[in-house]
Amino acid sequence: MTDAGPMPTIAVLALQGCVERHRPHVEAAGARFLTAKTPADFEQADAFILPGGESTTMLKLIAAFDLEAPLARAFAAKPVWGICAGTILMAETVLSPPQRSFGVLPIKVLRNGYGRQLDSAQSEVDGYAVSYIRAPVIEDVHGDVDIRATRDGKPVWIVAAPHMATTFHAELTLDFPSPMHRTFVDLVRAHYKP
């Protein structure tokens, strides 16, 4: 457990994707877990996780439910952690193919950068098992970005406080909380004014 104090609420955007797997990690890291689908839900959140899933599906749903403006406002004010598809949504530029994104992080991302499912892989980051599943590749970063981990010379875990991105999944490892969830909750606490 992170040290006591008011407990921030971390909302996982739950339009589609790997949502519930975050619950035990978030709670073990000392934060409250919430699933969010509507602007009313977004108001309840102190920070967001944009989960793994299909970025194209998420973009269609964000457009269909008129969530683009409310999400952009929320991301401007609160910490966001994008995971895999979530990293793609946060990027400044998306390639392969190009698509819309929120531009929260100064990065250029290549979708499915390692290939298809047969190119998915597991490895370790900071001694913790992580999974790359049809993962994107961060081709380029600029500005004030802290690169926490790389794979084949490309960043896979970056922090641009108060935001964070990982191209891999820590939530599929059943040892709670992951170092990445711990780091994100620390970022949220540093930014959080109850």
């Binding site: 739950a14 339009l15 589609q16 994707g17 790997c18 949502v19 797997r21 689908k37 793994g52 899933g53 299909e54 194209t56 599906t57 269609k60 749903l61 269909a64 439910f65 895999c84 598809a85 392969s96 193919p97 979708r111 499915n112 290939g115 298809r116 499912q117 047969l118 998915s120 892989a121 597991q122 490895s123 098992a129 999974s131 599943i133 049809r134 999944h169 599929l172 490892t173 059943l174 040892d175």
Partner: protein, 298 residues
């Protein structure tokens, strides 16, 4: 690293299924279909030779899609591409793996190649999804290496009744297993015909060891919401989209309903303004036993 579940880390095969949760996987025959599906917000497409309603109508032997068609679909869309092989046809599965598809559905919708044995799915690096009508069948498939389970339903009918039966049955049987004493599990395993170790895991975790999606007969947004409320974590739609009068409209509506399956007002919104009729439905009671797909496999 190993592809098996270590207990510590969910393996990569089931990991991809985790990413597909809360989504709609659409049957497609052509690259043009696949484009429509992706534009509507599908999380994945399933390539097959003919949609189930056409297989049912025209009869004959239904096989794996032509490789060129699957290849074209893979080049057209950026979302995962699944493809069907016949039950027990491990050579079709090998071909699909060699093509690099993202998931294989060992499917009762195609004509079975083996009426005794299913594919040994542990022998593949590509993940498999299999249909099930009950808990024991689901656990047998998982025992063979399936990384994702779906209800069989009765494909190509536009009738949700069989999917509902299968989803409910799996839930009821899970509740029953949870209530058993440890010493009762082996006898239960023998009676059900399910692997003891997996039954013990169900009792311990209170659920299937892999995600469970719905399939077979989904034709409307409300059908999809019904399946989600019965515990399905995503929905496969076969003929329901491309046999409706307006595929893009139905595809988008079902995607929206799955995203908000627990909010009736949103399912209502998704159900409004559907131009054209849904796919024509079939009463399953009028289907001869040997024309029922759910009975294929064991």
């Amino acid at each position: 690293m190993s592809q098996e579940n270590t207990g510590q880390v969910i393996n990569l095969k089931t990991g991809l299924a985790e990413m597909l949760k809360g989504g709609v996987i659409m049957d497609v025959v052509t690259a043009e279909h696949a484009r429509v599906a992706e534009d509507a917000g599908a999380v994945a497409v399933m390539a097959l030779e003919r949609v189930p309603a056409d297989i049912r109508k025209s009869g004959g032997v239904a096989r794996m899609s032509a490789p060129e068609l699957i290849q074209e679909i893979m080049e057209t869309v950026s979302i995962p591409v699944m493809a069907k092989c016949r039950i027990g046809h491990f050579a079709e599965a090998q071909v699909l793996e060699a093509m690099g598809v993202d998931y294989i559905d060992e499917s009762e919708v195609l004509t079975p190649a083996d009426e005794e044995f299913h594919v040994n799915k542990h022998a593949f690096r590509v993940p498999f999804v299999c249909g099930a009508t009950c808990l024991a069948e689901a656990l047998r498939r998982i025992g063979e290496g399936a990384a994702l389970i779906r209800s069989k339903g009765e494909a190509g009918t536009g009738n949700i009744v069989e999917a509902v039966r299968h989803l409910r049955r799996i839930r009821q049987q899970i509740r029953r297993v949870i209530s058993l004493e440890d010493e009762e599990l082996m006898t239960e395993a023998k009676t059900m015909g399910a692997p003891h170790a997996l039954l013990a895991l169900v009792k311990q975790t209170g659920g299937l060891p892999v995600p469970n999606f719905a399939a077979g007969g989904v034709a409307t947004p409300a059908d999809a919401a019904l399946c989600m409320q019965l515990g399905a974590e995503s929905v496969f739609v076969g003929s329901g989209i491309f046999k409706s009068e307006s595929p893009p409209t139905y595809a988008k509506a079902i995607v929206k309903a799955v995203a908000h399956w627990d909010d009736p007002r949103m399912v209502l919104e998704a159900s409004k303004g559907l131009t054209g009729a849904p796919m024509p439905g079939l009463d399953v009671h009028g289907i001869e036993e040997d024309m029922r797909m759910a009975g294929r496999g064991w």
